[in-house]
Structure formats: structure tokens, C-alpha cells
């Protein structure tokens, strides 16, 4: 297993589970992690909070929830699950708080994949 993947494991990503979902195709898993970076780039949930567009926030958080779930990026999956649930429960302030706590974790994972 590559250094990147062991590092991701240390960050809480369930690499084995994610690869299993891709029929243990490690190369494809790494490629999909690259796609995940694009998805993060295209789904700036915080910007939606700042512009007050909560509909966009929930739809982008929902997308990231699905993708992180499928790639077993577990800490982010849990975080976005909470963000989506809180937004649907019309608790935007709490949702934003969860997101603020989540972003540093996401940053570390993104950095690790970028390397």
C-alpha cells in the first residue's frame, strides 16, 4: 500500500473498505481520490453559508456526503451527514458549526491526497 494510503488511514479514512467497493482496484481508488479533490473544489459548502444560499449548501453537502461515503473517507462522511441532517432540520447555525470543525480535517485529507 502506498504511503499516501497509509497516511490517509492514519487520518481515519477506511482505505480497505473503500478499495473493496472498487473491487480492490487500488489504482482506480487512487484515481477516484483525485476526482474527490475536484468534487471538493466544486462544492464549497462554506461559501454557500456565507452567501446565505442554504438550498445550495444542502445539495452540495449531500453530494460530498455520498462521495465520501462511497470512498470511505469516514470522518468527512460523518461530518457531512451531520451537516445535511442539521440543514434539513432547519438548524443552519449548528450545521455551520459542524462544518467549521470539519474543514480542518478535510484540509488535511486534501493535502495528503494532493501530495
Amino acid at each position: 500500500m502506498s504511503d499516501m494510503l497509509s497516511e490517509l488511514k492514519d487520518l481515519g479514512v477506511n482505505v480497505e473498505e473503500g478499495m473493496k467497493r472498487l473491487m480492490n482496484n487500488e489504482a482506480l481508488y487512487v484515481k477516484m481520490l483525485g476526482k474527490f479533490l475536484d468534487a471538493v473544489g466544486n462544492s464549497n459548502v462554506m461559501a454557500c453559508f456565507e452567501s446565505g444560499d442554504l438550498d445550495a449548501a444542502v445539495s452540495k453537502a449531500h453530494n460530498l456526503k455520498g462521495v465520501t461515503g462511497n470512498l470511505s473517507i469516514t470522518p468527512l462522511y460523518k461530518g457531512y451527514t451531520d451537516v445535511v441532517a442539521l440543514l434539513r432540520a432547519e438548524k443552519p447555525d449548528e450545521a455551520r458549526q459542524v462544518l467549521e470543525d470539519l474543514l480542518p480535517v478535510q484540509e488535511k485529507i486534501v493535502e495528503c491526497i494532493k501530495k
Partner: protein
Amino acid sequence: MKDKLLIVDDMEINRVILAEGFKDHYEILEAEDGYQAVDILGSVTGIAAVLLDLIMPKMDGLEVLRRMNKDGSIVHTPVFIITAADSEELLLQAFNLGAVDVVSKPFMMEFLKCRVGNVVELYRHRNDLEQIVNEQVERLSNLNKSMVETLATLIEFRDCESGEHVKRICGLTGVLMTKVSEMYPEYRLPKAEIDKIVTSSVLHDVGKISIPDSILNKPGRLTKEEYEIMKLHTIKGCEILTQIPNVMDEATYNYSYDICRHHHERYDGKGYPDGLVGDEISIWAQVVSVADVYDALTSPRVYKKAFDHETAVKMIYNGECGTFNPKVLEAFTACIDQYREQIKR
């Protein structure tokens, strides 16, 4: 040839993951949103299953399901909802729209493959069975029709005619009934019913089998007494039909019975055997009456020569063969040329 699997998700990562899991067993088709999915479903055949995301831009998964309900494809194509959505209401809506199963992201690929495989197998089996049943129903219905036609042809032979009269009556009944149904909303009937009426018209003279040869084939005018006996063919026909109800399905039987009994009724109540007036006579019996009279006039009989078309039409309009429903006559005028073209061929 591999079955096709349609994967619908706006996120490429999710599509790639699903494609990777299923590509060995299926030809994979991908759609990024509901519009593409509907497009593919409408243009590609042999799609064994659909893996459908619910929340997508442009057109969402529920709308795809609604479209599939509308065009009926949901009946033969299993749809799996693959979603990160956690709203129970949304999932319930998907189930109510005919989704076979809901799988949450993240899913276990091996389980998902088993679930999809099982359902595809089940649907294949069901679709096959449905086709077999349809083929058998069609075979039976053809057999049925030919039995009825055989019966009618036998009777016609006794009447010193070929089976042609029966075939012409069927043809004209079909054309005229269709025209009446098109022209008058109060007489509108679905095509399937008209087809049954056409089949039923075959047996309108079945009762003639009970009429003695001396009357049936008498080369001159019938005496009053003979005519009274001849008129009995309507009632006798019904008696025969009650003995053989299982030769046809219930609807065809009911039409046959009614046509047999009432194809000599007249709109002004001067027909027989029941002297029904106006729309007391069913529209199909009225239609067969006109068809029967036209064909009788334009065919040679032992007691008369054939009249030409123009004379026959004039005689019908002048009421020389009894009074008919003006609306049926109107439709008759509108379609008789089409019918004549048809028999020329």
C-alpha cells in the same frame, strides 16, 4: 450479449464505483442527470436494471420514476435507488413510484451485486413468462375465431352459398362499426370491442341451420307461413348459442347472442322477433342489420338476381328494406366507398 445496466448519478465518482462493480456482468450505460436517463431509457432496448440516484440537478430521480410510470417501462425494468438521502419521506415516495429497492451510500458492493443480480433474474423470468402467456392467449384467440368461422361457414354452405357472405358481413361490420364509433360519441367503442363485434357478426345467421331446406332454398317468394318460420332463425340461433357458450369468451358470446337475435329488428319497431324500437336495439345489431341487408341486396340469391351498388344503396335509403337509424345510414354513406375499395383488392 450482455444485459445493459443504466447508472444514473450526477457525481462521476459514484458512477465509476458502480460501473467498476458491475462491468464484468453488464454493458454499462451512464447518465449524469434525469434527462439523460430518460433519453437513454427511451432509445435503448435491453436495459436489465437501473441504478438511480435521487437528488440530481436538472431532473431528479423521482421525476425519472414518474416518467417510467407514465410510459410503463417501470413494469419491466427494475429500478434500484442508490442514494445518500436520509429523508424517509423521499424514500417512501420512491417506493410508491415503483422502485424495487433502496440502497444507501455508502453501500457494500458485494451485497449490492447480489441484490441487483437476484432481482434482474426474477424480472427476466417474469418477462419471459408474460411473453409466453401472451403468445398462448393469442393462439387461443385465433383458434377460437377460426372455430366460430368454421361453424358459420358450415351454415352458409347449407344456405347454398359459399362462406363469402360471412366474410363480407365481417368486413362491412368492421368498417361501418368503426365509422359509427368515430362519428358519434354516444356510440363510441374501443377498437378491442369492435374487433369482438366483428367476430360475433359471423354467427348472425347460425339459426338458419334449423330452417327446412324447402324454405331456406325456395327459389320463389315465401308464403306468409313460410316467412314466419324463416323469421324463427333469429330465436333458434340464440338457442343454439346457449348450447355452445364455451366456444367464445363471455363478451363475444354476449355480442353474438344479441346480434343473432336482433339483426332483423328495425329502427321504427317493425322488425322481428322482439319489435324493439330505436336505440333499444344495440348499435352493433343495427350495424350488422345494415351490413346484412346491403350484402343480401348486392348478392344473387335463389329467388333474385344481384342488384348493383347504386340500386342497393337507393333501396336502403328509400326504406325498402325497413327503416334504419339515420346516424348509421350517415356513417354507411361515409364509409361504403372505402369498403368497396377493400373488397376489390
